[in-house]
């Protein structure tokens, strides 16, 4: 085989990746088109928001953060959850995880892009975003946790793009990647994943003005719920891949993932119980936020059905996974993962952000429900994330499959 120049190899790699990601059967094409339609809906809604201002959302001076930041918070957790695949795969050299680690990293990339887009659409003046950059703007580091968050999220995105890119490139060229080149970064990304979600938690934890958030359990709780919801999403995604493509995933991967989800979900529930105990055993004025969330306050009880649903399906999902009635049958496993994912999404999204801001520092209570603009933009961003994951995953799986097949036949 002639040795092509590295530039030509790289170019060939990129064109192949582009080709593989955009081509496929009719079902695949339709799926991509559907995602583009939703993205266009999101763009349209964002244009409305751009024209009229954030007043088209239902956020106000009291509920100053809403649906966008709720989704941002949740999705950073999903992004951090990739570490639960990376850790066993690269450190413990578990082959079942190694088979699917690329999927975890791609999901992390998609989730990160979604998170950062949510922050972008939430900004009042995104054009002035350069004000936050160091050197050309003013970067209030280390005081402001938002600067920490921007820093760690971007580095994590780079890590999760470059490590798989390097490994895929090596696999594309049918050679083993050099561990000395990527293992240090893998180590960094493992600690970094814990870091991004702790820092996102500290965003809220560090505000003494908001007693609902100002408790030390926010950081660990975020990690626990992320490591339950993220792998749950990955499990569902793996099931889809297993059924829709030729990339087959062994049962042991699902079983091991299930174990991770169960442990994290149980820890999450224990932490939830601890929080609920603190709020309701001896309610103080600081417990008003929790009362607003779980029972309603002054007639404002729009969040009550949501949080009870979230907690219930969280518990049901955890129990289903823990006691494993179906003995790892997908019919039981997958709905449980979906339940857990949705439950944590509600509880960590709206169920965290809105009660933190209500009652206001002046004691005023309002209700919040996202407006059509917020929902449309959220759908658009979700479609964007799914689009990114899809177009990155397809060539990645093709390359991995070929590499593995090649190694098997050789």
């Amino acid at each position: 085989m002639t040795q092509k120049s590295s530039v030509r190899q790289l170019f060939g790699f990129m064109t192949d990746v582009a080709r593989w990601s955009l081509s496929g059967g009719i079902g695949y094409q339709l799926f991509l088109c559907l995602l583009v339609v939703f993205m266009m809906l999101g763009v349209f809604a964002y244009l409305v928001q751009w024209k009229l201002g954030l007043t088209v959302t239902h956020m106000s001076d009291i509920v100053s953060w809403g649906f966008y930041i709720a989704n941002f918070t949740f999705l950073v957790g999903v992004a951090a959850a990739a570490v639960m695949l990376i850790l066993p795969s690269y450190i413990f050299k578990d082959e079942h995880f190694h088979h699917v680690v690329i999927i975890g990293e791609v999901v992390a990339v998609g989730a990160l892009i979604m998170s950062m887009t949510f922050v972008f659409v939430d900004l009042g003046r995104p054009l002035q975003g350069w004000h936050i950059l160091p050197i050309i703007g003013l970067f209030n580091w280390p005081s402001s946790l938002l600067t920490w968050d921007i820093l760690v999220l971007n580095v994590y995105l780079v890590l999760n793009l470059s490590i798989p890119a390097y490994i895929l490139y090596c696999h594309y060229n049918q050679r083993e990647p050099d561990p000395r080149k990527y293992r240090p970064f893998v180590f960094i990304s493992i600690f970094w994943a814990f870091g991004i979600h702790l820092i996102t938690a500290f965003l809220y934890e560090g505000l003494p003005a908001r007693p609902f958030w100002n408790n030390p359990l926010m950081g660990p709780r975020f990690l626990a719920s992320a490591f339950a919801a993220g792998p749950a999403l990955i499990t569902v995604l793996l099931a889809i891949i297993h059924n829709a493509t030729t990339f087959k995933i062994p049962k042991q991967t699902f079983n091991k993932l299930r174990l991770i989800i169960v442990i994290s979900a149980i820890i999450n529930l224990i932490m939830l119980f601890s929080e609920v105990f603190k709020e309701f055993y001896f309610p103080t004025h600081h417990s008003l936020s929790a009362e607003y969330l779980y029972f309603g306050l002054d007639g404002h009880n729009s969040l009550v059905p949501w949080i009870w649903t979230a907690v219930s399906i969280n518990i049901v999902g955890t129990l289903l996974l823990a006691f494993n009635p179906g003995k790892n049958r997908p019919m039981v496993l997958l709905p449980a993962c979906v339940l857990l994912f949705i439950g944590i999404w509600i509880e960590k999204g709206i169920g965290l952000i809105v009660p933190g801001l209500v009652p206001s520092p002046l004691g005023e209570v309002v209700s919040y429900a996202p407006s059509w603009v917020e929902i449309s933009i959220a759908l658009g961003v979700l479609a964007l994330g799914m689009f990114v994951v899809t177009i990155l995953l397809k060539p990645a799986l093709i390359i991995e499959q070929r590499f593995e097949t090649n190694n098997e036949t050789v």
């Binding site: 239902h58 106000s60 001076d61 009291i62 509920v63 309002v366 919040y368 429900a369």
Partner: protein, 206 residues
């Protein structure tokens, strides 16, 4: 190459220094605004704010001094509608039918407790209507009515002199000009009346 023991000691020294420096820093910053205020002992030169205009003409120098020295009080005599009282109240008899009702009928006297209401001559001098009179018989100029009001309302007078009661006029810097008692309180019915607020806070509808 330093030995492991040296490295360990070096680390301990560095950590110790960090702790000491942090503690020293925290200690020196303690106190906040309260400490800043305690340390601020030299008076502020009110003349240093150039944009403050000189005191308006309708003020008089107060007969008392406050902690910053002398201050000025808004006059009342040029603002009262029927000053000078001696235009009517002089040596000649006032021959007007139902004089009290006609001339001062618009005055409602609601001043003092229900059982111990004040009378006109509690404050107004009988022989000279242009001035007020204290309990001890000392005449008080209308522009310096605080000397009179301060007899009963001594707490408010002390606060007014210091600045916790009453109102400073327009400028926080420059010469201190404050409102007179009667600038805000109708001396015959000093309690403020009920009224509607100027505006309201829009409820958040959500």
């Amino acid at each position: 190459m330093k030995t492991p023991k040296q490295k360990k000691y070096g680390l301990v020294v560095v950590l110790g220094l960090m702790i000491i420096l942090t503690g020293w820093n925290a200690y020196s910053e303690k106190g906040g605004v309260a400490q800043t205020i305690k340390n601020a002992k030299s008076p502020f030169d009110n003349g240093s704010v150039a944009s403050v205009p000189p005191a308006p003409v309708d003020t008089v120098l107060a007969q008392v001094r406050y902690q910053g020295g002398s201050f000025r009080v808004e006059t009342r005599k040029d603002k009262m509608t029927r000053f000078q009282c001696s235009q009517c109240h002089n040596k000649q008899p006032v021959a007007v039918a139902n004089a009290v009702e006609t001339a001062h009928g618009d005055i409602t006297l609601i001043h003092g407790d229900k059982d111990k209401e004040l009378a006109c001559f509690t404050c107004h001098a009988k022989d000279n209507r242009d001035v007020l009179v204290t309990e001890k018989g000392i005449n008080v100029d209308m522009d310096h009515s605080y000397q009179l009001c301060g007899q009963c309302h001594f707490r408010q007078k002390k606060d007014w002199i210091g600045g916790a009661h009453g109102k400073r006029v327009s400028w926080w810097a420059g010469d201190r000009v404050v409102k007179n008692c009667a600038s805000c309180h109708d001396p015959h019915a000093p309690r403020f009346e009920k009224r509607w607020p100027k505006t309201y806070s829009r409820p958040f509808t959500e």
